[in-house]
Amino acid sequence: MIPTSTAPLAARAFGSEVRHHVHVLHNGLRLVVHPDSSAPVAAVYVGYHVGSAREEPGRTGFAHLFEHLLFQGSANVASDGHFRHVTQAGGTLNGNTSFDRTLYFETVPSNQLELALWLESDRMGFLLDAMTQAKLDNQRDVVRNEKRQNYEQRPYAKAHEALAAALFPAGHPYAHLPIGSHEDLIAATLDDVSGFFRRWYGPNNATLGIGGDVSLERAIAAAERWFGELPRGPESPPMVPQPVRLERTVAVTVEDKVALPQLTLAWPTPEAGSRDEAALEMLAMVLSASRASVLDRAFMIDELLAKSVTCGSFCGDVAGRFTITLTAAAGVTLERLCARTFELLEEVRRTGVDPALLQRMRHRHEADFVRGLDSISNRTQALVLSDVLRGDPAAFATHAERVVAASADEVRDVLARHLLDSPPVLLSVVPEGRAADAVRGRPA
């Protein structure tokens, strides 16, 4: 008997809906099907519930390096086979790794669904048969060049690593970035590859999404055919939240080859699914999603103190972080930016969130949500990520509605508790030799 619960489901928000079905294979692989004949394509997404947060000490960057190795062939797929087969079939493909999950995907013409499933099942089942030291060495070099290109050659990008290390204590799953360190990448061995594969890449730690011009019956039959015989892996322990609160303000200084200094104010916040997640997301919008949001308007339009302002809230499996980043306008000190930011935040606490601004941000969030679901690939991805991270393919839609439902009082409340009444990290990026320009502490 095949355990199945393929009743029609729908992820709904703001009048949009993404119809889908869930079917669980014997080996624990969760299948989410999104039948949609609006275009002659099939989207295949495989999400594994492992990312940099599950890396061993001394092996930072390994989950991402491992993702690269999954494009180097498996027992029945040649080393250049993934890209070659999918490209020749007219498809696109890629993968990416974050703190909590690793995602692989291809979008192909719908008559090539089986090709995509063959490729994904072969690497889920038979990766190690084709693994070699030469592949590991080559992709290690590629990944180290990725790190150079995206972190070492980009202005201000070096600061990302310093921020993670300042927000979370050593050994915390989020204290390092998925890209990892050069020395840990150099230290990775073939034994690490086989160990990681056996530990985390079983079908019972994954969700397979099939979307597009494919019937439910065809999708289930094809998934059973290609994945059904793969053996179950060890059970993955649930990710246990490890929220963090800083005891005192942490000031960090990074020198970089830049002309204008930049300040990041950051706070640790709770994990995904916590009560405050939605209000924190709306807070980020109120502060900076629009040029007329609180911080953008003040710094970029009314007072001309900054060259750029960004703000973001991330809540992951084990913790969260809220960041505000300001690049100074010429002649403006980081001390000034810091003081003014706290004044503006205090003003929101004192007067409350402007209800008209809140309403506009709700409308923007709705429009962005609809826009983000404009392709079969995007819809299938949303279902799969939601299933991997929140255990429910429809959770992304309920979450979006929660963000819009956050009240002015709730937004003010998370501002007070998680930002104003909690010690921040104050990270200064200053021109080389100008360490004295860094912010030392929170304004009195």
Binding site: T87, L115, E152, A330, R371, D374
Partner: protein, 454 residues
């Protein structure tokens, strides 16, 4: 039956590629409308292209086109910047302006139920921009800050210097779209206003609309735009492209001592988008550097690990195109990377193999199934067809022509459009690493202008 994993599964059946249908109308003021239907989301996308592109900038007003584009988003006669942004936010609408060589493009994306008021905001921005002196100074200050930081990112330096090498110093296209500190410093509300006004000739403008509307409905929806835009609105002069010599073939360097990587651009000028061979050039490039499994990427990334990735491509332009190989390599491998790219290009003059040609035909044909799914993809298709005057079925025309060609024909095409003797090579990275090459590098500043080095 035991599952056979040893072979890639075959396609489950044929799939007929269908292109989106473009329909056209000429609106009452002479404005050309092109529409394409899309129903994936309840949204409408509108793009108005007016003749206010970079090629119109004189050398003493570099950066003006993009500055005007910016100012069109800074309020209208009736609304301040903040009031305009608030109105767009309330509708959840995106209104953006940008420039390419030929046109200034104002684009709107909005949920259908808010289309009418959002179109009103587009019209106000296009015809009644505020050009407030305080806003102008604010935008100018941000632009000057961006210009002062322009040397910080190696990839941007490489792109700017590359334009200068290929286009030469006598045309605005040889400079960054941001302009220079001198020209932006000299710009004024008056010059911006004048540039804007001479860009508003409806007979030299186009509008594209994509959404769940017929062409007639689209024409009706755009009535407010037409009403505000009389046919005799400021006739625009034709663009006079200034002839300008490219830098000579050879090696160039913007020195970044100690940088972990060097950004490389390697290539030469190429033919205009209306050249009879143009449609085939994407196919010619495909096995060389047009996708992940190309010769260049398999060699420099998957075999040698020198780079995170390399691509090559022919860039279409109405006046003159370019062929460029772009990559960032670990600094100590820069000399070897340049040698390898040159070797790959020289070898490719023999054309693709039979199997590379088959691969290209199949990939380009099958990809049509997924390339026009979203409204944004359909708008990009309409934009390309209208911008270059290509046939509405140009992707199919390309396949038809490709079907008739042999590898020998492609070799001939390669020899006509890839010219190893004319390669310009620019490295933005540590100059010391170039000493392993036979030739010496001409030093450039961060804008790609020659530096005299003792």
């Amino acid at each position: 039956m035991k599952l056979d994993r040893s072979q890639a599964p075959r396609r489950s059946g044929p799939l007929e590629a269908r292109l989106p249908r473009i329909e056209r109308r000429t609106l009452d003021n002479g404005l050309a409308l092109a529409t394409c239907r899309a129903s994936a989301t309840p949204e409408t996308l509108i793009e108005v292209s007016v003749p206010g592109g970079r090629a119109r900038e004189r050398l003493d007003e570099l950066g003006l086109a993009s500055l005007v584009a910016k100012l069109l988003q800074e309020g209208t006669r009736r609304r301040t910047t903040v009031e305009l942004v608030d109105a767009l936010d309330y509708l959840g609408a995106d209104l953006r302006a940008g420039v390419d060589e030929d046109t200034l493009v104002l684009s709107l994306r909005v949920l259908d139920r808010h289309l009418a008021p959002a179109l009103e905001l587009l019209c106000e921005s296009l015809f009644e921009p505020r050009f407030d002196p305080l806003d102008f100074e604010r935008v100018r200050a941000l632009r000057l800050a961006a210009l002062r930081s322009r040397g910080e990112e190696a990839a941007r330096v490489a792109d700017t210097a590359w334009d200068r090498l290929l286009e030469g110093p006598l045309t605005s296209l040889g400079y960054s779209a941001l302009g220079t500190e001198a020209t932006i410093g000299a710009a004024s509300v008056a010059t911006a206003r004048a540039f804007h006004e001479r860009s508003l000739d409806p007979r030299r403008s186009r509008v594209a609309l994509v959404g769940n509307w017929t062409a007639d409905e689209a024409a009706d929806l755009l009535a407010p735009l037409v009403r505000r835009w009389p046919a005799d609105f400021a006739p625009a002069a034709a663009n006079d492209a200034t002839p300008s010599a490219a830098a000579s073939a050879g090696l160039y360097c913007v020195d970044r001592p100690g940088a972990p990587q060097a950004e490389l651009r390697i290539g030469h000028r190429s033919v205009a988008a209306n050249h009879p061979d143009w449609l085939l050039l994407a196919a010619l490039n495909y096995p060389l550097g047009g996708q992940f499994s190309s010769r260049l990427n398999l060699n420099l990334r998957e075999k040698r690990g020198f780079t995170y990735g390399v691509r090559s491509g022919f860039e279409p332009r109405r006046g003159r195109g370019s062929f460029t190989v772009a990559l960032a390599v670990q600094s100590r491998h820069v000399a070897e990377s340049i040698r390898e790219v040159r070797r790959e290009l020289a070898e490719y003059l023999a054309g693709p193999t039979e199997s590379e040609l088959d691969f290209t035909r199949e990939a380009l044909e099958q990809a049509l199934a997924r390339q026009f799914e979203t409204a944004a993809a359909r708008l990009a298709f309409v934009h390309t067809v209208e911008r270059f005057g290509w046939p509405d079925d140009y992707p199919l025309e390309r396949l038809r022509r490709l079907a008739a060609l042999t590898p020998a024909d492609l070799a001939q095409l390669a020899r006509a459009h890839l010219r190893p003797a004319e390669l310009r090579v620019i490295a933005v990275g540590p100059r010391s690493e170039l000493s392993a090459l036979e030739e010496s590098a001409q030093s450039l500043d961060i804008d790609g202008a020659p530096l005299d080095v003792p």
